[in-house]
Structures are given as C-alpha cells and as structure tokens.
Symmetry: C2
Subunit: 283 residues, 2 copies
C-alpha cells in the first residue's frame, strides 16, 4: 500500500489536508509527506495549536512543505454581542496563525443558525458584517479569506452559505485580495449552477482554495464524517478540476476527507492510497 | 394529547400524508382523520396496493376524505432499456391508481444516478424523456404529474432534481396540465432562490402540491427518516406558506414527515400532535 505514485509530476499541485489523516501527529504527517513526495499540506487549527503554532511552522518549513490553507475560521453568525466579539477575536487569531504558518489562505466555515433562529438571510448578513471587519485585518497580515459554501445539508447547524453563488455574492462586497471562496467538490457537485459560478469566481481572481472529496452514500449519522475517498463516489472529480483550471486557477489541489472509516486505518496507508487515488481520478 | 384543535377552520386546507403516521392501517387512519376533523389525506402507493386500490378508494370516499396526492411515481433515470421500460410501466400504473383513488396529483421522486454513473445532466435528460411519455398518458386519465425537487443530499441516490429551478426547467417543457412541481419545505428551505421560483411556478399554474416538514439536526444515518415535526426545526413554515399562497396556490397543504421517532409512537397521538403543530406554526 505504500509504493510511490506512478506519476510523480502529477503530485506537483497535490496537497493533503491534515484532517484526512488526523490519526497522524504533525511530525508523523510531515514524515509521511516526505516519504510519498507530497509537497503541500492544509493544516487545521486545533492540532496545530496543540502542537504549538511556532513549532508547527518551523516543522513544516524545515521539511520544505508548503502550507496550502489553514482551516478554519468562521462561525460568524452569532447574535449575542459577547459571542460575536469572541468570534471576531478568534478569527483575528486564526489570521495571525495563518501568517505564522506561512499560508496566505484562511478557509472560513461561516456558521449556522443561532439556536432558535429561522432567519437565514439575517445570518448571512451578519457574516457580511464580520467580513467587513476581518477582511482588512487579514490583508494587513498577508492572508486572504476563503468563504467556503457548505452543502445545503449543513445550512442549519454549520454554514448558512450553501452555494457558490451565495459565497460569491458575499465575497464580491470586498476586494478579492481580502475575500474569495473555497471550492470543495463535496459541497458543490450537485449544483448545476456551480460551473458558471466557478467561471465567475475565476474571472474575479476569487478562487482562493480548491478541495476534493467524493460523495458516497449512505450518509452517516450527523452527515459530517462520510466524505468519500476519491473515486469511491458520484463526483466526476476530473471534470471539476478542469472547470476550476479553465477558470484560471493554478493553485494547490487539497484533498480533505472527513471519514471515520479512513481515520480508523493506518494513517500512512491512507495517505498513500489518497495519493494514488488522486493520480487515478483527478489528474 | 387528543384534544380537538383550537381552530377547526384552520384545518380546511390541512392534509396528512399517510407516511407521517405509517404505523396506522388505512382504516385506522381514516378513523383518526374523522375523529380529528382532518379532511384530506395524501396516500402512498405501497400500503394502498397492499390494502387494494379499489377498496382503499371506497374507504376514503365513503369517509368523505379528499385524496390530495398519491406518492409516489418516478425513478426515471435508469439507462438499462428493460429497467427503463419497467419504470415507465410502473408509472403508468401509478397514474391509473391515482385516478382510481380520485386524486389528480401524482408526486414524482425522479431517481438518482444509476450505479457507477457520475452524469447528473444525462440523468436529468432521461427524466425529461420519460415525462414526454408519461405526461400525455396522465392527462388522459385526469392526473397531473408533480416533479418534486429533493434536498441536494439525495442527489446521488434518490433524486437528481435538487432545486425548484431545476424542477421547473423540466416541467416547463410540457403543458402545466401535464407536469408541474411539488414544493416541500424540507427540500427547499435552504435555497435563497426558492422564493422566486415559487412565484415562477405559481404564475404558470404549476404548483401541483405543497408539503410541509421541518428541518432538524443531527441528521440520522441515511438522512431519510429525520424530517422534523412542525415547529421543532429551522424552517419558518408560515413564511413558506405565505410565499406559496402569494403565488396563487389555494390547494391542500400536506404534512409529510418521515421520522422514525414519530413512527415509534401511537399513531393517533402523532396525528393529533401534527394537527396542533399545524395550527400553531403554519396557520
């Protein structure tokens, strides 16, 4: 399961999000990347902070790895003033951490409805208000915010931004150097408007991140930990990559799988499999 | 739990879909409707066929109940010619059953991707081809087809028609007396384009059914049996009813809950609760 990939050049753009192999410690992840010829990693705030942000930055820098994104800021929909202030402060820290880690992209999962609320529009407007505060702060630190539309099944509890069109409607209120979007195949694959919205995003220089995961069924309880390994599901990954590239995107392609079955396996084996699947289904 | 509703006139438009209380036999359902002042029922093919279509028709007719819809035809995306012919034949039988039951609406759940396919567009076109055959057949039997967009989380395995806009794009290839749409709050609530699409559907006389369910989290495994009781979730039901009525819809309002927790309870109690919730949250 650990043979090197057949097409090493095909990995130039490949990045593995840390959550795909969250069973690996950060040093184990760095070692596995070196062994498999993986040059990019997307990092996740919680394990990075547990390891120490400065120490993590040194570890990946010394290994020659590129940090393609930091995931994730966001959760900007609270109505309570204290909660809202805490969220903004937390996002400024996330910007600082991204800068320390040497990535210029902070992915935002923008938040669901506050408890008891049924007001999707109001929640979306509060996100815009928060971006107006965070965008300039991020720019001063050399970081771009990537609003990630999440699949509509997460609209109530995780992210009221459900489509690429909505994400761009939000992003376009701000300069592209402050706010763009993250395109994740898992979240947009069902949407017949998404191809046009990718073109719209690309033309405006607003594709700040591109992530891959496949769609498999049945969904697990809670829907969160069922993202499919590349090639196992319903998504034509190669077609989505072609759309994003036709829109002018030349950045990293990050594989981000939340999958409890993958997490139960040996992490290096999963990373090797992910590299192989990437070359088979997305190159 | 079985007190009569406070606003009996508020129930004029109310209909209960049989699946909401599937623990009740058809005679039990009819009795419970009579007891609670419910005048409309949406029926489901499998239990109706098990009871006998003619016998079911007589039972509800003798009780003075209106059959608001028959659920469900559809599953029109197969590529295999034999499967496709069987699906079309099954849908013609569903039209016949609707006519026998005295309803003029057959709700269609149009089908997911065939095994191994990643071609959403092709699947949607096969639905259009099937509607071209079924629409005239339905019209001759006094039945209108209602294409129901299902939540995008069902795009792979149940229905490649994920938005009201897509459903209308399909329906508008045919006369409104043949093909319209079913609006179900559970499936469209997250979609900021849905209000405009409801107006579009209403203006064309294509709202053939309107169903209510609430959105609750976490989703259960498989996502199918977690539709929330009215008032328990994130959907502003009254606002959606107002939109549908502003679009000119004056037909029945059917409550359709697939919910294993409700199915585990006493069916009459669940129906009484549903009536009460309807008056509290949708009138």
């Amino acid at each position: 399961m650990s043979e090197p990939p057949e097409l090493p050049n095909a990995l130039e753009r490949f990045s593995v999000n840390q959550m795909t192999v969250r069973q690996l410690s950060l040093p184990e992840l760095v070692d596995a990347c070196r062994e498999l010829g993986v040059a990019g990693v997307g990092l996740w705030r919680e394990p990075v902070r547990a390891y120490g942000v400065e120490a993590a930055a040194k570890l990946v820098r010394d290994a020659g790895l590129t940090v393609t994104t930091l995931c994730r800021g966001g959760f900007l929909t609270a109505t309570d003033p204290a909660e809202r202030a805490a969220a903004l402060a937390g996002n400024r820290r996330a910007v600082d951490e991204a800068a320390t880690l040497g990535t210029d992209v902070l992915v935002l999962v923008c938040g669901g409805l506050p408890a008891g609320s049924r007001d999707l529009h109001g929640a979306r407007e509060r996100i815009a208000d928060a971006l107006a505060e965070l965008g300039p702060y991020a720019e001063r630190h050399g970081v771009r915010l990537a609003v990630e539309p999440l699949h509509p099944m997460f609209a109530a509890d995780r992210c009221v931004v459900s489509t690429l069109a909505q994400a761009l409607d939000l992003a376009e209120r701000f300069p592209a150097r402050q706010v763009g979007v993250a395109v994740d195949t898992y979240h947009v694959w069902w949407d017949d408007r998404a191809p046009d919205q990718i073109a719209r995003a690309g033309a405006a220089g607003r594709i700040h991140a591109f992530q891959l995961a496949d769609w498999t069924t049945p969904l697990p309880e809670g829907a969160l930990e069922g993202r499919g390994q590349l090639g196992d599901g319903a998504i034509d990954l190669r077609a989505w990559r072609a759309r994003v590239e036709a829109a002018g995107y030349t950045g990293p392609i990050e594989v981000e799988l939340f999958n409890s079955a993958l997490w139960a396996r040996d992490g290096r084996e999963v990373l090797a499999e992910t590299v192989r699947r990437f070359t088979e289904h997305a190159v």
